[in-house]
């Protein structure tokens, strides 16, 4: 049996299930929730038409999830349209959905993080309305990043080094690395099991998710690893076992794209939780384009 344990965290009375070793059956739970989240993104994306606002798209994701039995979220759904997909703003409150309307040729990103039965998922779905040559190039180029990240982690490079190798590849490809605009400039954050208290949110972020990250950080950082994977010294450590929602986000000028999915890190290996995801299926159905 494969065990992936974030075992440096000690048992916690409010969320005991969060810290026990993860079993294959747990992975099934994460996997099926991640599948559901991508289904939601695809279903909502299919309904997006010119004139829809980000707020409407975010609400549509929440409604779809509620119709499928999910009422709690790691964070409330996001939607970014047009040049907002490049996350170029100073005011961090611009992160949240606005009244920006979708028009033809616009890229968009949906980001959903449901919680169900103590399992969490956090996915990012990038697509567009109509034609946009640069956006297509971006979607194609993300494939190399998915491979690079997995290879880096499997070779046991430090998280900071993997982070930097993504920076370098993006620069070679001609992009800006936009996950630097995320809180903590993270390329990934840890996810895991959470308890079943009622949903509560602060500024769109669920208390359960914040609690999980805070509790983990309180114990992991003294132990030498960071539940927020970024380019700082705190992330200069070998890959810690656990589940990581990895979200490389790239942009050229006002056109941005990302994917987000769970990477499973074990004590000596790593694998993507699920390869049957929309972006992976699209890459495998079209021949890889030359990278930079």
């Amino acid at each position: 049996m494969r065990e992936t344990s974030a075992s440096s965290a000690s048992p916690d009375s409010r969320a005991r299930s969060a810290s026990r070793p993860l079993l294959d059956s747990d992975l099934d739970g994460f996997r099926s929730l991640q599948q559901l989240a991508y289904e939601c993104a695809e279903a909502v994306a299919a309904t997006l038409e010119p004139g829809v606002t980000e707020i409407e798209a975010a609400r549509a994701q929440r409604d779809w999830m509620r119709d499928h039995g999910v009422t709690d979220f790691f964070h409330l759904p996001f939607a970014w349209f047009g040049d907002r997909t490049a996350l170029r703003w100073r005011n961090p409150l611009r992160f949240f959905p606005t009244n920006r309307r979708l028009t033809d040729g616009m890229p968009f990103i949906l980001d959903i993080a449901p919680i169900r039965d103590g399992f969490t998922a956090d996915i990012g779905y990038a697509s567009r309305l109509g034609d946009n040559e640069v956006h297509q190039q971006l979607l194609d180029d993300l494939e190399a990043h998915r491979a690079l990240i997995l290879d880096g982690v499997r070779s046991r490079a430090t998280f900071r080094d993997v982070y930097r190798s993504v920076d370098r590849l993006a620069a070679r490809q001609g992009y800006d690395v936009r996950h630097k605009a995320y809180p903590g400039a993270v390329i990934a954050h840890q996810v895991g099991r959470v308890g079943d208290s009622p949903p509560r949110f602060v500024l769109g972020f669920g208390l359960k998710g914040l609690g999980l990250l805070t509790r983990t950080a309180a114990e992991s950082i003294p132990a030498g690893w960071n539940p927020l994977w970024n380019g700082t010294k705190l992330s200069d450590h070998a890959p810690p076992p656990g589940l990581w929602a990895v979200e490389p986000h790239l942009a050229f000028k006002g056109v941005g794209a990302k994917f987000e999915e769970i990477l499973v890190v074990t004590t000596d290996d790593a694998f993507w939780l699920d390869d049957d995801l929309p972006h992976v299926r699209r890459w495998s159905s079209t021949p890889a384009v030359a990278s930079a």
């Binding site: 946009n132 040559e133 640069v134 620069a171 070679r172 056109v255 030359a290």
Partner: protein, 585 residues
């Protein structure tokens, strides 16, 4: 040539010369104080292509002189033009070309409904419309505009036209003419080689007669109209023209549905200095109007269209050739130029990388073509230049940024290594400069060439003999090119970036060491460059600045600037620092 005398509507007789009889009719109208002989060189080039007609306007050369000032009014001048066209053109239409006052009166005629079926097209050279001048005045002096900027634009045009105000005074004009203006115009004209027929023998009398042109019509400048220009219209302007500035044509896109604006390197008397260029421009417009449904206009004409691109961008409508555009500084420069409106000719050895740059460039709303060329290959570069000329005409901007790196001690650097790096880093710059500068000169294009040198062009860093030598050569080549090409209005800049994280270190060959050591050094230098974290976008911004402000040598990063200063203040210290062995052994 056949000469005839045509009596016009008010009885003044005009002397008209028909130089050839083939094809569409082209009527050339001279300016003040010239005669039809100013066109001799242009006529010689157009003969055989068209039915070429010139005439002396009233008050000039061999034509008659009206007895009152009213005889010089725009309406009468247009009636003269119409009379001439009807006398010489089998189908009653003509392509009108006006220089100086020929352009001023041509613009006026082009707005008259009764001339719409007579003027098939209009080419204005070194002239403009009084309406446009007047509207420029009102537009820029209105309080809603930024007052200083407005004054600048107005001053720029009206310091070129000071004399026309003086001409409004009753007696003074003759005095002005006799005292200063004639001499000034003669001075300007002397920059143009005098020849038989130009300036005309009647120069003195023409000068005084023609003052009436201003007196009869200048009121228009103060009561400008906003009339539409009917025929397809192209304006050709010298960038050093002391009488007309490009600001005059700000409203052209709105007033003329079909308009082109070409700025060439030259002064006011383009018919004398640039006859070949004018003959080609006239031919392109005539052929565009005469033929061709669906056929594309000549590339030079197409680029000059005033409705193309965003006019607020500094490089709108311009074409830039960027070598090594698939990566690093080349790509960043292609993107920076495209953001400012330029179409980009992407040149790279790596087709996939070139296509990627082109994708980004097109996203910015301009055009991009990809050419897979080894810049060190003379014949491949010649083929590239030929293709660019056919597709776009001469480029406005050429950025020679393709380059490779080699490190290793001088004794370990083999002849093959030298040939490879000299080929790309030096010969590439030579070919790019030579071929495209020639095109710019031929097209009268006031263009710009940017060569990528390096901070190592003046820093004798050990283990970089080959690279630094090529970059020092590029620096000197740029300086010499700059001195020579200035005569043609072409600027040349050498860019010395310094330590910039472009990816060149990942591809640098390390000679004289085994593969493992080479890899180690590649990793080390890449890490050094990464830590320096100075991106190619900043170099691209420096290149844009160098083009806009015609800078000679541009060290970019602080260390490049420091090295440049040090190499001059204390070559000994510079040498000592450059001896440091940063790669370790």
């Amino acid at each position: 040539m056949t000469r005839q005398t045509v009596a016009t509507t008010d009885g003044v007789s005009l002397t008209v010369d028909v130089h050839s009889e083939d094809g569409p009719t082209v009527v050339l109208v001279h300016g003040y104080p010239d005669t039809s002989r100013v066109w001799d060189e242009v006529v010689a080039l157009l003969v055989g292509r068209f039915r070429v007609v010139t005439y002396d306007v009233r008050g000039a050369g061999d034509s008659g002189v009206p007895d009152s000032r009213d005889g010089y009014r725009f309406e009468q001048l247009a009636a003269d033009l119409r009379t001439v066209i009807e006398a010489v053109s089998p189908d009653g239409r003509a392509h009108v070309v006006g220089h100086d006052w020929g352009g001023i009166q041509g613009f006026e005629a082009a707005t008259m409904p009764e001339m719409a079926d007579v003027m098939a097209s209009f080419t204005c050279i070194g002239g403009g419309s009084f309406d446009h001048a007047g509207r420029l005045l009102y537009r820029h002096l209105s309080p809603s505009r930024h007052p200083l900027r407005g004054l600048r634009a107005v001053r720029k045009q009206f310091t070129r036209s000071w004399y026309i105000l003086g001409f409004q005074l009753p007696v003074l004009p003759e005095a002005i003419w006799n005292s200063g203006l004639a001499a000034r115009i003669k001075n300007l004209l002397e920059a143009v080689e005098p020849r038989e027929g130009h300036p005309a023998e009647t120069f003195e009398q023409d000068g005084i007669n023609g003052i009436e042109l201003y007196r009869a019509n200048l009121g228009r400048v103060f009561r400008p109209r906003r009339d539409h220009v009917h025929p397809p219209t192209q304006v050709i302007l010298g960038d050093k023209d002391p009488f007309a500035s490009v600001e005059l044509f700000e409203e052209l896109p709105e007033l003329a549905p079909n308009a082109w604006l070409r700025v060439v390197h030259g002064g006011h008397w383009l018919p004398r200095t640039h006859p070949g260029l004018l003959a080609n421009a006239i031919t392109e417009l005539v052929e565009h109007v005469e033929h061709v449904e669906g056929a594309d206009p000549a590339p030079e004409l197409e680029r000059a269209a005033v409705d193309r691109h965003d006019r607020d961008l500094p490089f709108h409508g311009k074409v830039a050739v960027v070598t090594g555009a698939g990566n690093g500084i080349g790509r960043a420069t292609a993107i920076a130029l495209a953001e400012r409106g330029a179409d980009i000719v992407v040149v790279d050895l790596d087709e996939a990388a070139g296509n990627r740059t082109a994708t980004f460039v097109r996203h910015l709303g301009v055009r991009a073509g990809v050419h897979v060329v080894d810049v060190s290959d003379a014949s491949a570069m010649e083929a590239l230049a030929k293709t660019v000329l056919e597709e776009h005409g001469a480029p406005d901007i050429v950025v020679n940024s393709a380059g490779i790196g080699i490190t290793g001690s001088f004794l370990d650097t083999r002849p093959g290594d030298w040939e490879r790096i000299l080929g790309v880093n030096l010969w590439g710059v030579i070919h790019g400069g030579r071929l495209f500068a020639q095109q710019m000169v031929d097209a009268g294009r006031p263009g710009h060439i940017v060569n990528l040198s390096s901070g190592l062009g003046y820093t004798p860093a050990r283990d970089l003999s080959a690279y630094a030598t090529t970059k020092a050569a590029v620096l000197m080549l740029s300086e010499v090119q700059r001195n020579e090409l200035a005569d043609h209005g072409i600027g040349v800049s050498a860019i010395c970036p310094g330590i910039v994280d472009t990816g060149i270190t990942d591809r640098t060959a390390h000679v004289g060491v085994d593969d493992e050591e080479g890899d180690r050094r590649r990793r080390m230098t890449s890490e050094l460059y990464r830590r320096r974290s100075y991106g190619p976008e900043k170099v691209a911004a420096a290149i844009v600045d160098a083009v806009l402000h015609d800078r000679a040598v541009v060290p970019v990063t602080p260390e490049a600037r420091f090295g440049r200063i040090l190499s001059r203040l204390s070559p000994g210290l510079n040498r000592a620092l450059a001896r440091t062995d940063i790669l370790g052994r």
